[in-house]
C-alpha cells in the first residue's frame, strides 16, 4: 500500500466504477438446512441473505468492518440449488456524502454454474471514516433520525 493509500479513508479509496474481485462458492444442502434452521423458515429459498454477496466482495477488497449495511435492494430470479457453484460479480456504482455521512453503493449479480441468474442485489453501505470506529458513526446516524 502506498503512503497516500495508507492515509486515505476507506470512502476516499472507493472508486465509483471499480469492479471488485469476483468470487465463487458453493452452498451445500447442509448449509441450506442450517440456514433454514437459524432463521426458522423451513422454506427459505435464498440463504444468500446470509452470504451478503455485495458486502463480501467489498470486504475482500477493503477488509472487515469497513462498511456498515444500512440498506439493501434485491431482486430474485431463481432459488439457490444446493451443490451448484455460485459466481458473484460486484461493482461500486456510487458514493456520496449525506449529512456528512459517507455512503457507498455496491451492486452484485449472482449466477450459478449452469448460467442461472440467482439474484441481483444492491448494498447501501456507510463507509468507515477516518479513525472513528465504523459503528460509532452508524449509531450517530440512528440517534440523529
Amino acid at each position: 500500500m502506498s503512503d497516500q493509500a495508507a492515509t486515505q479513508t476507506i470512502y476516499e479509496r472507493a472508486q465509483v466504477g471499480e469492479t471488485l474481485e469476483p468470487f465463487e462458492y458453493v452452498i451445500t444442502q447442509a448449509m441450506l438446512d442450517e440456514y433454514r434452521q437459524i432463521v426458522r423458515n423451513p422454506r427459505a429459498a435464498y440463504p444468500t441473505v446470509a452470504g451478503r454477496h455485495a458486502l463480501r466482495a467489498w470486504t475482500n477488497r477493503f477488509g472487515p468492518a469497513t462498511l456498515a449495511n444500512v440498506g439493501a435492494e434485491c431482486e430474485y430470479f431463481n432459488p439457490v440449488v444446493p451443490g451448484k457453484r455460485i459466481r458473484v460479480e460486484a461493482t461500486i456504482v456510487d458514493k456520496y456524502l449525506r449529512r456528512d455521512k459517507p455512503f457507498v453503493i455496491v451492486d452484485s449479480t449472482s449466477v450459478d454454474e449452469d448460467g442461472r441468474m440467482i439474484e441481483k442485489s444492491r448494498l447501501v453501505g456507510m463507509a468507515a471514516k477516518g479513525q472513528k470506529p465504523l459503528f460509532t458513526e452508524v449509531q450517530k446516524k440512528w440517534e440523529t433520525k
Binding site: N41, A50, G71, A72, E73, F135, Q139
Partner: protein, 137 residues
C-alpha cells in the same frame, strides 16, 4: 392468498426473538465472518455499544419469510425488495414483519402486487422499512 388480496390489506408473519445464539450462527452459516458487532459482545463494547446488534440481513431474512409465506413462488421467482435499516435491533429484541398492499397491477401478463414492508420491535418501533413486490398466483 390468490385473488383475495386487496389494496390496503395488511399481512404479517411469525415474530422472531433475536437471540445471541442466532446472531452468532447467522454470522457463520453461509459466510464465516470474524467476530463483529453482531456476534461478539466485546467487539460491540469496543465501538461504544452496550450489547450486540442484529445485522440488516437478519431483518431481511424475516421479511423474506413473510413474503415467501404469502406469495410463494411469486416471491421466489421475481420478487423484489428494497429496505433501509432505520433503528438498531439489539440482542433479545423481538422482531415482527409487516406488509401493506399498496398496488396490484398487470406485469408480464401476470398480476403483480406491491407492498410497503417493515419490521417492528417489541416496543412498536419500526426498525426496517421499505417496499417489496411479488407476482400473484
Amino acid at each position: 392468498m390468490g385473488n383475495e388480496i386487496a389494496v390496503g390489506q395488511e399481512i404479517t408473519s411469525a415474530s422472531h426473538l433475536i437471540s445471541h445464539e442466532m446472531l452468532v450462527a447467522f454470522e457463520r452459516v453461509i459466510w464465516t465472518r470474524v467476530a463483529n458487532v453482531h456476534s461478539d459482545p466485546v467487539t460491540a463494547k469496543r465501538v461504544g455499544m452496550d450489547r450486540t446488534i442484529a445485522s440488516g440481513q437478519n431483518q431481511l431474512a424475516i421479511l423474506h419469510q413473510m413474503m415467501e409465506e404469502h406469495f410463494g413462488d411469486g416471491w421466489v421467482r421475481g420478487g423484489k425488495i428494497a429496505a433501509r435499516w432505520v433503528c438498531p435491533v439489539y440482542v433479545d429484541d423481538t422482531i415482527t414483519p409487516y406488509g401493506r398492499i399498496t398496488a396490484i397491477e398487470e406485469a408480464d401478463g401476470k398480476q403483480r402486487v406491491a407492498l410497503a414492508v417493515w419490521c417492528q420491535n417489541q416496543s412498536g418501533a419500526k426498525t426496517g422499512t421499505g417496499t417489496a413486490q411479488a407476482y400473484l398466483g
